[in-house]
């Protein structure tokens, strides 16, 4: 097979994914004078980043002057239950403020303090009001700002172009990828000296999820197949507040800002139950009465934090327990009440999207009625193992940033740390890739055998006249993962998941697709499923291996954290590099934190 077979492009750096991390990486690489392209399977500006609501965490100290990077670092590590890559947490805390201010130079319009600075709001697990925001549509502001910057720089963007697989060069470095155009179904190859993965998350493999169809773990899977390692894949964040009714919107996100701005959780008896679920780790800093908690909103020195603002893993487990104990709402959630606590005017100004979302989709007026909410699969802390400084993976020429990268958030991510992650490490990936290119990395050929194999694999479902409908497999996979590797896990269920995932692998090999190649969603789903399965296998194996409860991984049979498990990440590699190859699991020791950073954590205890 030769270069002429398919449409072909040649760049210095290609970025797969056009969410916050991908666009920020593109800006950086482009600013350094490199030939850069962004490839996205959706239209530009539609990535999952738009769904982020609450804000981006950055210790600017605009509302509480006491705030600084050291407190942010400590909050991030505690929220992550110390499984974090400390260096990523440190860089993130130090660099976030610069990245927020930079967005303003590019046109972002954040909400303001009275003296004209960027307003910051409270969120779970952050000691001080720290989230720069625009009402409850901060993600939209972030993506639009970056999108407009990328476009104004004249960056090439390939839209609705789905990458199937990475391609290596003769030295075993990553040299580009093979993709297909959604509109025509024609294949296209991209050769590049460096590839940055910024493909987001994996949540579409669960039944109740806040993720869009795009969250199929393409980047996680492609990195795994290409020879990189995935870490912490068992650590999945179930956001405490997703909609539960109507069924058609079950899982749709309800922003944490509702709680940050005064909303509280109640059970069917009307009780503010979160006071019953404060674990020792957070007891000293959490209010023990409603009166104390309510004083805190206006003045953080007047009382301790309300328990509704514990980190997300704590709140999700508490809701789950209340529902299990029979104190849930009519549709299997609990109640989130802000209508009785804040004025209608305040709610409509601070939470316009939530007001709109409940009014139009559920017929509920949140200024007067409680919302019914429950946990929803939201975010994967785990991802591609990367170097903190450069976002480089173990494979030469391959970089990863944003949700697809692992390490920053440890076992549990704090709300607001994701948007800042995107810009801090998107930029670093851009620099890392540029330095790799500038130092002469990459360029040693392009393995057309891999292209051919990927194309044949993608076209196989058209050859099978009788076979399975990809939608059936997707639905069954989502139900299985929800039931067996959901918010609470046990060994027997996880073992069953591992065995069933092998059955799913066989089913995927029998998929049959109807229709032609032009904009065929059934075919597109058939090309998603191999990635979904590879990723799900890592999640299930990680969940089996981590015999303790920590952050976004809760084991009914091992309900406590085990200090032994706080010394390593569980890491996965592919044994064979194909989507149906076995996945191996081992332990990767955590980086050892320098004493001065350890001291920051000790002070906090």
């Amino acid at each position: 097979m030769s270069e002429a077979t398919y449409e072909h492009h040649d760049y210095d750096v290609i970025i797969i994914g056009a969410g916050g991390a991908g666009l920020r990486a593109a800006i950086e690489a482009k600013q350094r004078g490199l030939r850069v392209a962004v490839i996205t399977k959706s239209l530009l500006g539609k990535a999952h980043t738009v769904m982020a609501e609450g804000g981006m965490a950055a210790a600017m100290g605009n509302v509480y002057a006491e705030d600084n990077w050291m407190v942010h670092f400590r909050d991030t590590m505690r929220g992550g239950k110390y499984l974090n890559n400390y260096r990523m947490a440190e860089l993130h805390a130090k660099e976030s403020p610069e990245r927020v201010w930079e967005l303003e130079q590019w046109g972002a319009l954040f909400d303001r303090t009275k003296d004209g600075r960027i307003l910051q709001r409270d969120f779970g697990g952050h000691r001080y009001a720290r989230l720069a925001h625009v009402g409850d549509r901060t993600g939209l502001e972030l993506i639009r700002t970056l999108q407009q910057k990328v476009v104004s720089m004249g960056t090439d963007v390939f839209m609705e172009c789905k990458v199937l697989q990475l391609v290596h060069d003769d030295d075993g470095n990553v040299a580009g990828c093979v993709a297909y155009w959604r509109a025509t179904g024609e294949f296209v190859t991209f050769k590049a000296k460096a590839v940055i993965l910024a493909t987001g998350g994996v949540g579409k493999s669960w039944k109740f999820t806040s993720n869009s169809w795009e969250g199929t773990g393409d980047g996680h899977a492609m990195a795994l197949w290409a020879g990189a390692k995935l870490i912490d894949m068992e650590c999945i964040q179930f956001h405490p507040t997703g909609m539960v009714w109507p069924l058609s919107v079950r899982g749709l996100l309800v922003t944490e800002s509702v709680r940050g701005d005064g909303g509280v959780l109640r059970n069917s008896e009307g009780k503010r139950f979160m006071f019953d679920y404060v674990v020792d780790m957070f007891r000293a800093e959490t209010a023990d009465s409603e009166d104390e908690a309510d004083k805190w909103y206006d003045d953080h020195s007047a009382g301790r934090r309300p328990p509704e603002l514990l980190p997300r893993d704590e709140v999700a487990r508490a809701i789950n327990a209340e529902v299990k104990a029979g104190r849930g709402s009519p549709h299997g959630g609990v109640f989130l009440d802000i209508g009785s606590r804040r004025s209608a005017e305040f709610i409509r100004r601070r939470l316009p999207s939530m007001y709109h979302q409940f009014m139009e989709l559920a017929g509920v007026d949140i200024t007067r009625e409680s919302m019914e909410i429950g946990p929803t699969c939201h975010y994967i802390m785990g991802g591609v193992q990367v170097d903190a400084e450069t976002a480089a993976t173990a494979v030469g020429g391959l970089f990863a940033a944003g949700e697809v990268a692992g390490g920053l958030h440890g076992a549990n991510r704090l709300g607001g740390n994701s948007l800042s992650d995107l810009v801090v490490f998107g930029r670093r990936a851009g620099i890392g890739a540029a330095e790799w290119v500038e130092s002469g990395g990459g360029g040693a050929g392009f393995n057309y055998g891999e292209v051919e194999a990927a194309v044949n694999e993608a076209l196989a479902p058209f050859e099978r006249a009788e076979g399975e409908n990809p939608y059936d497999i997707q639905r069954d996979l989502q139900e299985m993962m929800q039931a067996n590797v959901g918010i609470i896990r046990t060994q027997s269920e996880v073992d069953e998941a591992i065995q069933k995932l092998e059955e799913f692998t066989e089913r995927v090999k029998k998929i049959s697709v109807k229709g032609g190649r032009a904009y065929n969603p059934g075919w597109n789903l058939a090309t998603d499923l191999p990635a979904m399965l590879s990723v799900s296998k890592c999640v299930a194996h990680g969940a089996s291996e981590r015999k303790e409860s920590r952050g976004g991984h809760t084991r009914e049979d091992f309900p406590k954290a085990d200090p032994e498990f706080a010394t390593f990440n569980i890491a996965h590699a592919s044994h064979g590099g194909r989507w149906d190859s076995p996945v191996t699991t081992d332990h990767a020791p955590l980086l050892v934190m320098p004493d001065e950073l350890k001291a920051l954590l000790e002070e906090a205890k």
Binding site: L43, W101, E104, V134, L140, S248, Q357, P521
Partner: protein
């Protein structure tokens, strides 16, 4: 559980026709749920664009019973009894079924001169809430392009697309013009190349905006005033004459003062 008949346009650039699908409809469902059910059962190759299913990304725009709507925010139980007709946006070329080629909008986006702020002082810019709020209204835009779809300047006149940016970009220009930090002057561009004068304020765009942005009142009319002020203000006119202006384009001639 009820059943509903969906009349969905299927085809491509070479033509197409309606197909009827009779499918299940459950409590609380939106049009996109029912379209997804058709995909998962009878027609896995039915093309439609969607991402967030929460009214935040603006991908699933289509015409439902003839009106531009987001499929994810249109509840089935609020549509009239009887078959529901779903067609692609009319203003843009068809790719397949409900998916249209919206690249017109991405080309327009490339023409927008970026924000040009002064250097940032230590600790960030100071701007006040009341000053950023005007721009924030326009930045709520989710780029569903339904305002472009419904705008008669281009909906029925393909030839106007070459010299008309459309409502989505008028709010973008308005946002930049009203941005407290911006130092770029885009008024001539808006007038001469973006075709602001073609808009005769029928407010169709405002009516379809799912974010309830007052496109006409808060963006287009103030923008027309600014552009016209700049042009007919005798001092500004003289200044331009001395600097570089030599001729008036047809677009300029079409600009009328706002009523």
């Amino acid at each position: 559980m009820a059943e509903v008949t969906m009349r969905v346009w299927r085809g491509d650039a070479n033509g197409g026709d309606f197909e009827n699908y009779t499918v299940e409809q459950n409590e609380g469902e939106v049009v996109l749920d029912v379209i997804h059910r058709i995909q998962a059962t009878e027609a896995p190759d039915l093309a439609c664009r969607w991402n967030c299913k929460a009214g935040k990304c603006g991908s699933c725009s289509a015409e439902i019973n003839g009106k531009p709507r987001l499929m994810c925010m249109t509840r089935m139980d609020q549509l009239p009894e009887g078959p529901v007709t779903v067609t692609p946006m009319k203003t843009f070329p068809i790719i397949r079924d409900l998916v249209t080629d919206v690249s017109f909008n991405y080309v327009q986006a490339q023409k927008v001169p970026a924000l040009l702020p002064p250097p940032m002082p230590e600790g960030g810019y100071r701007m006040f809430q009341e000053d950023v709020e005007r721009g924030q209204e326009f930045r709520k835009c989710i780029e569903c392009f339904m305002c472009q779809d419904v705008c008669h300047v281009i909906r029925d006149h393909e030839e106007n697309k070459v010299h008309y940016a459309g409502p989505r970009f008028f709010i973008r220009y308005a946002e930049l013009e009203m941005h407290p930090l911006d130092t770029n002057d885009r008024r001539d561009l808006i007038r001469e190349e973006m075709g602001l004068g073609y808009c005769n304020i029928t407010k169709c765009c405002t009516e379809v905006c799912p974010e309830h942005i007052k496109i006409t009142d808060n963006a287009i009319i103030p923008l027309k005033e600014r552009v016209v002020d700049a042009h007919y203000d005798p001092v500004a006119w003289l200044g331009r004459k001395i600097r570089r202006k030599t001729k008036r384009s047809a677009d300029e001639a079409a600009v009328q003062p706002a009523p």
